[in-house]
Amino acid sequence: MHSGRSDKYSWRKAKNALVSAATFLSAIAVITPLGLVFFHLLVNGASSVNWAFFTQLPKPVGVIGGGMVNAIVGSLELLGLASVIGIPIGVLGGVYLAEYGSARANSMLRFIADVLNGVPSITWGVVVYGLVVLRFKSFSGYAGGLALGLIMVPLILRTTEEVVLLVPNGYREAALALGIARWKTIVHVVMKTASKGIITGILLALARIGGETAPLLFTAFGNRFWNHNLAEPIAALPLQIFTYAISPYDDWHRQAWAGALVLVVGIFCVNVLVRILTRERKPSIV
């Protein structure tokens, strides 16, 4: 009797050790690629990240040097345009899902948003190509911004809905019981309480689209020169990296590494910002 129990115990200990080891190895498997990416980018890109990279335009083919300032600025312009489309629609839609609407219609909208979140990003590029580029007969910054903005909408919508639903019902009731109108309650109490979560969702969506290349191939198209007219093709960092990486020139390869490093560091910074925001959020939502 006693020995049987002890056998069971040692088997249980063995199972515990086995599962612990498996989870540990999985954790390593998750972290390793991140380390490899950073290491590789630093080794290959760090030496090419210099002042010229951030301040100069691309040099003509065959001339050594130059930078990607047009692509960096172009990416920021595209992100700005995408935000103008994606943030209001995403945030308002998410608030609608959490606060208004019938349960049946909402579960359908939620399902559609989830499907949209799973649509490959190149599909968005093709859709906008069909809708905008063909109609106006030109690749353009507008088309690129629209493609990225459309990707943002379902991302922001779902995160906004989730953080708005996290706001305890007691606050809504307290505000409504003061005779405050429903929309004011939602804007001044509910959304204010959820604001850090909403901002976090927006930043994560920006980080996600910041590195998107595929939707820009048929829309923004890329540009080797300064262009501040959004009705014309515009440069973007991921596009420039793509173009340089598949080129046959060593100098362009170096610059592509540098561009990739800058992009990853930028996205990393956004994610760190998100961590800081979410860490402060916990005490405020009880």
Partner: protein, 269 residues
């Protein structure tokens, strides 16, 4: 600013001489198929504390929420009957629920100061979001409300601190101050002390006693001693029905109904 009085109605019971704040006639409420309140008739006197007691699930909170139309926030509820506030039908088609709730304040079981706002902002938020901009007026009302809620001396130097930094009992008094700041005519309290320790409870009860000179108070409580201590009138609810309603001393010493007596003596519930 607000419509104070509408048409007065006929039915005031002959025995009742007190002025009435609420007249409730044949009130029934359903959640989907389930009947939560069954044909309740009740007259709630002014400037007095009326407590509502009964076992869990008897419809006390639902009844309270019918008085300021808060039950409408729950999907698939429907109600029948009339609730008159000083003679005006709260459920007639031209009455805005927001206006009803401005006239009838509410304090909840769990204290819920807004987490993004300071103590001061919490108190005046009802006025501010209803369009009051005058700073002098807001500051006066802030102090007055906190004094009435017996909280001013404890927080007057910390008005900028978050409302959630206060203790549980202070938070509940802050919620009372917030409800008083919009100058309601009635204050509804839904088990306001159930999450508080005995000292904080005693403070709230003392406060209720003081407030009844200016307000009509309706309080739902699980604690029969509390009902005995704070209220002038007591209503006993059971399974959605109003079993007995009368002066608190009578309900607790000489109830007319067998069910009331059983509940009060602890034979069930």
């Amino acid at each position: 600013m607000l419509e104070r009085r509408g048409d007065t109605i006929e039915a005031v019971p002959e025995t009742e001489v007190l002025p009435l704040t609420f007249q409730i006639r044949q009130l029934s409420v359903w959640y989907g198929q389930k009947r939560a309140i069954d044909s309740v008739n009740m007259d709630i006197p002014s400037n007095a504390v009326t407590s509502i007691i009964g076992p869990s699930g008897c419809g006390k909170s639902t009844f309270l929420r019918c008085l300021n139309r808060m039950h409408e926030l729950v999907p698939r509820t429907c109600m029948d009957g009339k609730v008159l506030l000083l003679g005006q039908d709260l459920y007639s088609a031209d009455v805005d629920p927001a206006i009803v709730r401005r006239r009838i304040g509410m304090v909840f079981q769990k204290s819920n100061p807004f987490p993004t706002m300071s103590i001061g902002e919490n108190v005046i938020i009802g006025l501010r979001l209803n369009g009051v901009r005058d700073h002098k007026f807001l500051n006066e009302r802030l102090e007055k409300s906190l004094r009435m809620a017996a909280l001013w001396d404890e927080v007057k130097d910390d008005l900028h601190k978050p409302g959630t930094s206060l203790s549980g009992g202070q938070q509940q008094r802050l919620c009372i101050a917030r409800a008083l700041a919009v100058e309601p005519e009635v204050v509804l309290m839904d088990e306001p002390c159930s999450a508080l320790d005995p000292i904080a409870t005693a403070k709230i009860e003392e406060l209720i006693h003081e407030l009844k000179t200016q307000y009509t108070i309706v309080i739902v409580t699980h604690n029969m001693q509390q009902a005995g201590r704070v209220s002038d009138h007591t209503a006993f609810f059971y399974l959605g029905k109003l079993i007995e309603f009368g002066p608190t001393t009578k309900i607790f010493t000489n109830p007319s109904e067998r069910q009331t007596e059983d509940y009060i003596t602890g034979r069930f519930g």
